[in-house]
């Protein structure tokens, strides 16, 4: 890609000179050229974000306020974290349809273990919270371990194993709670991790920022990160290069589950209850966030910065639709359409990049 965008850059001034002589038609043509080269360089997402800001800015006066945008940021934190996990799995050429269940599991088990610990040792507040968080994350990661084993060792298709685990985990979460929300966690948990604000920034945002930074480091600066790309890029080539593809796949699913569990625990703090059905929309939303951000469903391509933006974008759209009083059923429709649109736009972009080869 870079090769061609560089050339575009060099070409750009020339186009400008041309327009002066070519008049209106030429002007539009060169506008199209600029649009094309921008699309090639940055993908569809920035255009979508701009369009979204414009449309909802017009539809609602409250949309483009600092307060509202800060609100979107806070609400999107959970999706950002889950999408980052999803992205890792997509990079290796897989899917994780169980992210929603992982969030639910970690929420339910986290809440249950925290309330249980609180009943036994109410005076050791921090230990209680720690135990609860640990329990939640461990439960969620267990699903990731099964996914990872299934894909890496038993060669089950990621689609099937994560779909199966989604059902298993959801069932267990419902069974554990009997379908009712779990109450009775210490208020401090929710006060700090759900609603806490530190230097004017909500605590969950720190978590998301921290995870983004760490993950960027792992993905771009360690050999393990490169291996994730290589497994999705060409698994045979990776194997012949001595990459342990099984280990890489296994850890990718576990990592995805870890991130989803953290999101689950944070969400529990926000809701102040453990619930079995809080994550049902997350598989679709997280995959949508990734795809809109240009992560390839075939694996091997995708960047963290874009995925964060993609998840924020989805949050932005949902918020805008709420403000514009669009019905929630319709919102689902819009989200689906956006996903399809993004995929098509990306195809067009690919076509621009390698203008018709064979």
């Amino acid at each position: 890609m870079t090769e061609f965008s560089n050339e575009e850059e060099q070409k750009m001034p020339q186009h400008k000179n041309h327009t002066e002589f070519m008049g209106r038609k030429g002007f539009f043509l060169s506008l199209l050229q600029i649009f094309r080269s921008l699309l090639i360089r940055v993908g569809v997402l920035p255009f979508l974000v701009l369009a979204c800001l414009l449309i909802f800015g017009i539809l609602s006066d409250n949309f483009l306020t600092v307060r509202n945008l800060a609100n979107v940021l806070r609400q999107s934190v959970y999706l950002v974290i889950v999408s980052l996990g999803q992205m890792l799995v997509l990079l290796t050429g897989g899917f994780d349809l169980s992210v929603g269940t992982i969030v639910a599991m970690s929420s339910v088990v986290g809440a249950l273990s925290m309330t249980a610990a609180y009943a036994v040792i109410p005076e050791m507040l921090w230990l209680v919270i720690l135990l609860g968080c640990f329990g939640g994350v461990a439960a969620g990661m267990l699903i990731g371990v099964v996914n990872g084993l299934g894909v890496a060792v038993f060669n089950v298709s990621p689609f099937m194993i994560s779909l199966g685990m989604a059902s298993v985990g959801f069932g267990i979460a419902l069974y554990l709670t009997g379908g009712v929300p779990v109450y009775g966690m210490p208020v401090e948990f929710s006060d700090i991790f759900g609603f806490g604000v530190f230097y004017g920034i909500p605590v969950p945002v720190y978590f998301a920022a921290f995870i983004t930074v760490i993950l960027s480091f792992v993905l771009y600066r360690t050999s393990f990160g490169r291996y994730m790309y290589s497994v999705g890029g060409n698994i045979k080539a990776a194997r012949l290069s001595g990459v342990s593809t099984k280990l890489t796949l296994f850890w990718t699913y576990v990592l995805c589950a870890l991130l989803s569990s953290v999101a689950g625990v944070l969400l529990t703090a926000r809701l102040d209850t453990g619930e079995a059905n809080i994550g049902s929309k997350l598989p679709l939303e997280s995959i949508a966030a990734c795809v809109i951000a240009g992560v390839s469903l075939r694996g091997g391509v995708g960047r963290i910065e874009s995925v964060v933006l993609g998840a924020l974008f989805i949050g932005l759209v949902q918020n805008g639709m709420n403000l514009a009083r669009i019905e929630s059923y319709l919102q689902t429709v819009v989200l689906g359409l956006l996903l399809i649109f993004a995929v098509i736009a990306d195809q067009i972009r690919l076509k621009y990049i390698s203008s018709s080869r064979g």
Binding site: Y220, T222, S223, S230, N234, G300, S354, G358
Partner: protein, 505 residues
């Protein structure tokens, strides 16, 4: 007489950069017109415009004197233009016969006439003397076999022009000769042939005229019979070249690899024993499916062993319960295998040249300290390698899929330079590589050898076996048929073992 096909000032640009620049070309009926030029010269792009796979940015095409627009492969087919592309267009999940007649199925009352199609496919393959069963799934075929299917596909309908883009790149002598005979036959029938190859012997054998391209420019058209190798290479590269094969290093040291009666589980190799010494280039020759690649793959851990023993650097290598050697530990011990199918097994097409070159050495210095990558060192090193292999264009951050076929090959080969290995297996290293680059590759193979590595060179290109090997083994039906060394590596000796007659039984 009007020419069968005439190109006038054909030009193709990608994002504003011209890769084919105002080329004029004439094809007479009954001639084999060879396109010759370095990797990335624009040969494939040029023929893709004739075959309807892409549209020219500018220029005109005349067919039998009439101006035509060839905007799709169907358009081309209607004119009787059929092409075998460098990158295959087969559907892996379908069988050979389904692929052969894809888009040209024969039906009766809306239903496929399967038995007829099967018979036709068998006949087509037999007429080409390609030994492939029509009912096999394409993804179970080797690259060479897929190439044969691809060629057969072009022969299924009536032809006026046949375009072949490096059709023999992964074929051996035998299959190549069959194909060349067929081309002779077509020439007599008045078919015009456009033939792209990097193999000089083929040009001599079937070529009528040669058009040389460089950097997308037309350089010259010369008669094939009277132009000698040196002239051609000079036209192609713009400089004169003394000889293609370098002198072999003399010093040979201790035994590095010793394999004793290797038999694989799938039966592709039987009772094969050989050894390789430090400083030595050992060639493995044989027909497709003779077991020469499979042998190396088993040693590297890509195929299961049934029995036999493997000693590398005086250490006996163990197998796991399924009969595989561990690839990662072979690599760590200093044994590298470079596969013949760069697209399937060699490269991550959508990733950059840099990432592809460094992948196998990521755990080592200077690329990383084991865990953390050192990006700056990686960039520096891969830039060096790109220069060494003469990558064109030398842009290491571009995705591999945007490079021409030969340049992709070079990127994969550069993997053996990213760190030091004791034994390197090159499986068809010069598939689709231009003569100039081949000289570079031969040189660095020799250099690796001088620095104390051992080389196994698996090749279907006979001159490589004859000129670049200290010793050579010929495989036949999974067994080692004969071993030759020094002056005994000559055409008669090697070829006679190809078909099972040979010294060693």
């Amino acid at each position: 007489m009007v020419a069968l096909l005439q190109l006038k000032k054909i030009r193709k640009e990608y994002s504003g950069v011209a890769v084919v620049r105002d080329i004029n070309l004439e094809l007479e009926s009954g001639e084999a017109h060879v396109l010759f030029g370095e990797n990335g010269a624009g040969k494939s792009v040029l023929i893709s415009m004739i075959a309807g796979a892409s549209r020219p940015s500018r220029g005109e095409i005349y067919f039998k004197g009439k101006r035509v627009n060839i905007w799709s492969v169907q358009d081309a087919r209607r004119l009787g233009i059929s092409a075998v592309f460098q990158e295959f267009s087969l559907i892996p999940q379908m069988t050979v016969e389904e692929n052969l007649f894809l888009g040209a199925e024969i039906t009766a009352a809306g239903l496929l006439r399967k038995s007829l199609l099967h018979a036709m496919a068998a006949e087509l393959l037999a007429s080409l003397d390609f030994d492939i069963s029509p009912s096999r799934r394409v993804d179970t075929l080797t690259r060479a076999e897929q190439q044969m299917v691809e060629i057969a596909k072009a022969f299924r309908s009536d032809l006026s022009i046949l375009i072949l883009d490096e059709p023999t790149a992964s074929l051996t002598q035998h299959e190549t000769q069959r194909l060349l005979l067929l081309i002779e036959k077509l020439k007599k029938q008045g078919v015009g042939i456009i033939y792209i190859t990097h193999r000089l012997a083929e040009i001599r054998q079937i070529g009528t005229r040669i058009t040389v391209l460089r950097d997308g420019h037309y350089i010259d058209t010369v008669p094939a019979k009277t132009t000698d190798e040196k002239q051609l290479i000079k036209l192609m590269t713009g400089r004169s070249v003394e000889k293609i094969f370098p002198a072999l290093p003399r010093e040979i040291f201790e035994t590095l690899l010793a394999v004793n009666s290797l038999t694989t589980k799938d039966g592709s190799v039987k009772e094969a024993s050989l050894h390789v010494r430090r400083g030595e280039i050992v060639g493995l020759a044989g027909l497709i499916g003779s077991g020469k690649s499979e042998f190396a793959q088993a040693c590297f851990g890509m195929r299961a062993w049934l029995k036999g023993s493997l000693v590398f650097k005086e250490k006996k290598i163990k197998f796991n319960s399924a009969g595989y050697v561990r690839i990662a530990s072979m690599l760590r011990a200093g044994f590298l295998y470079l596969p013949s199918d760069r697209r399937e097994e060699g490269l991550m097409m959508m990733r950059s040249v840099r990432e592809n070159m460094s992948l196998a050495a990521l755990k080592k210095k200077p690329f990383s300290n084991g865990v953390l990558l050192n990006k700056r060192a990686e960039v520096k090193k891969t830039k060096e390698l790109a220069k060494k292999i003469r990558l064109s264009p030398p842009n290491i951050e571009s995705a591999v899929e945007l490079f021409s076929g030969g340049n992709q090959q070079k990127v994969m080969l550069a993997r053996c330079l990213s760190q030091k290995y004791d034994l390197i297996v090159f499986d068809e290293p010069t598939v689709g590589v231009d003569v100039g680059t081949r000289i570079v590759i031969y040189e660095f193979i020799c250099e690796l050898c001088k620095q104390g590595s051992a080389i196994i060179l698996i090749s279907s290109d006979l001159p490589e076996i004859l000129n670049l090997c200290h010793r050579a083994y010929v495989f036949y039906r999974g067994r080692i048929q004969s071993e030759h060394s020094g002056v005994a590596i000559n055409e008669t000796n090697i070829l006679s073992s190809f078909f099972g007659k040979g010294a060693l039984a």
